[in-house]
């Protein structure tokens, strides 16, 4: 089987599992909605800067939970099966693309819920949408790799966040900084340098994942 074909089959398999276990995705959505509601009832008024930061923190927690299960849900026996039918590169690429789709959907639904409940202080919504898309891309890359690491450890559910949070700090700071531009009026100056930095961080993650996953996956 060619590389692209096996990637496609693996993604299809993950999507099928997701569709058959809709409760998991619904659970994540409910989690997101509850957190947003919690913010709504606990803050009297939300300053725009705070609005942004909280949005990214909500997204961070939601995506850690959403991506964590991508590796944790696979049992040992199933790994043995994958080992015999696909290359490790195909598996990690498939997982990343699948998580990217999941995160994109989740971030867009999250943004809608967030804006509906907490109002919209954005002056450049399209620009913000672009940052959200790049953000979900970065989150999915980083957390996929971390989930692959954590799935090998004992007590993975505890390990996953403590591995992910420190690693995601530069990405989170860049995203908050980039999305702050969306709050202010006037002519939008494109922060090209920060975008380049974020994309190069993602590239580092991607290269690391491709180089190291073959060592990680077999038991």
């Amino acid at each position: 089987m060619t590389f692209s074909k096996s990637v496609w089959f693996l993604i299809k398999k993950d999507l099928l599992i997701e569709w058959r276990q809709r409760y998991a995705f619904n659970g994540i959505l409910l989690y997101l909605a509850s957190v947003v509601f919690l913010i709504y009832v606990s803050f009297m008024e939300l300053k725009p800067e705070m609005w942004l930061t909280l949005f990214w923190i909500v997204m961070l927690f939601t995506s850690v939970n959403a991506v964590a299960k991508s590796f944790l849900q696979e049992g040992r026996a199933r790994w043995l099966y994958y080992y015999s039918i696909a290359s490790p590169y195909a598996i990690i690429v498939a997982k990343m693309i699948y998580n990217l789709t999941l995160m994109l959907i989740l971030c867009l639904i999250g943004l809608i819920i967030y804006i509906v409940v907490l109002g919209n202080p954005l002056l450049h919504p399209t620009y913000f949408l672009l940052v959200v898309i790049i953000g979900s891309f970065s989150f999915s890359l980083t957390f996929t790799l971390m989930s692959a690491l954590a799935s090998k450890a004992g007590n993975s559910a505890m390990i996953m966040p403590i591995l992910s949070f420190p690693i995601v700090v530069p990405i989170l700071l860049l995203l908050v900084k980039l999305s702050r531009e969306a709050l202010y009026g006037g002519i939008l100056e494109w922060p090209v340098k920060d975008f380049a930095l974020l994309i190069s961080l993602d590239a580092v993650m991607l290269v690391l994942a491709m180089l190291l996953f073959p060592f990680l996956w077999r038991d």
Binding site: G154, N155, I159, I162, L163, P170, L216
Partner: protein, 237 residues
């Protein structure tokens, strides 16, 4: 003894650093005053930490290439010493911050980045110790070590540059080079960096050797106890 020349050098450099660090003439500067001597202890900690973590990462790569258990133990020991240097660096930095900036923790981006870096490496040890199977532990922690090193570098070099820092050389503050790392201080600073790094390597060799001996002892104990129990079984039946 001939092989141990660098340990002698380490002792000599450490003595030099401690004595000259206290005795050398330093420029009289406002706010900093005599705390500038912390430069010989605080800054080399970060140099040493980065170097120890780099060496740990290199041994992790070596482990993934050849699968020798010793390389894994050495990699973990280097990382442990790097983390120790980081803790020393952050505590000396906090003491310095208290006397020059007024508080122990100033929400300074460099302080925050260092703290995040330390969290990352503490997580490495939690991950490492969460696995019982020695083979799997070595493999997974080698992979983690490589990933962490390449994310640790952006954390300490990128995060501080996103906002202004109180540290020299950031946010309009002149760098140390500009005014006070004069030739007198350089004479102590560079030997200090080399001395701390050598000391770190020395500690690493001791830790890794004791770990290797421990492991061999355990194996031989297990084997002998198994032999004994089988003998007992033999005598019973």
């Amino acid at each position: 003894m001939r092989k141990g020349w660098w340990k002698v050098l380490a002792i000599a450099l450490m003595l030099f650093t401690i004595i000259m660090g206290m005795m050398a003439t330093v420029p009289a500067l406002p706010i900093l005053h005599e705390t500038i001597r912390n430069l010989f202890y605080h800054v080399p900690m970060w140099f040493g930490m980065t170097l120890m973590l780099l060496l740990g990462m290199i041994f992790s790569i070596k482990f993934l290439r050849n699968g020798r258990m010793e390389d894994d133990i050495i990699a973990a020991s280097f990382t442990k010493v790097g983390l120790l240097f980081g803790c020393c660096g952050i505590s000396t930095g906090m003491i310095w911050a208290q006397s020059t900036w007024g508080v122990f923790w100033n929400n300074d981006p460099k302080e925050n980045a260092a703290a995040v870096g330390l969290l990352l490496y503490f997580a490495y040890f939690v991950l490492r110790n969460s696995m019982d199977d020695l083979d799997k532990r070595a493999r997974v922690s080698a992979v983690a070590n490589i990933i962490f090193y390449f994310t640790f570098i952006p954390i300490i070099f990128i995060v501080p540059r996103l906002t202004d820092s109180l540290h020299p050389g950031n946010g309009g503050n002149p760098g140390f080079n500009a005014y006070d790392l004069d030739s007198n201080m350089r004479k102590v600073f560079y030997p200090a960096v080399i001395g701390w790094s050598l000391l770190g390597t020395w500690i690493t060799t001791i830790i890794s050797r004791s770990e290797i001996i421990n492991r061999e002892l355990q194996f031989s104990l297990n084997n002998s106890s198994m032999n004994n129990s089988s003998k007992q079984l033999d005598s019973k039946f």
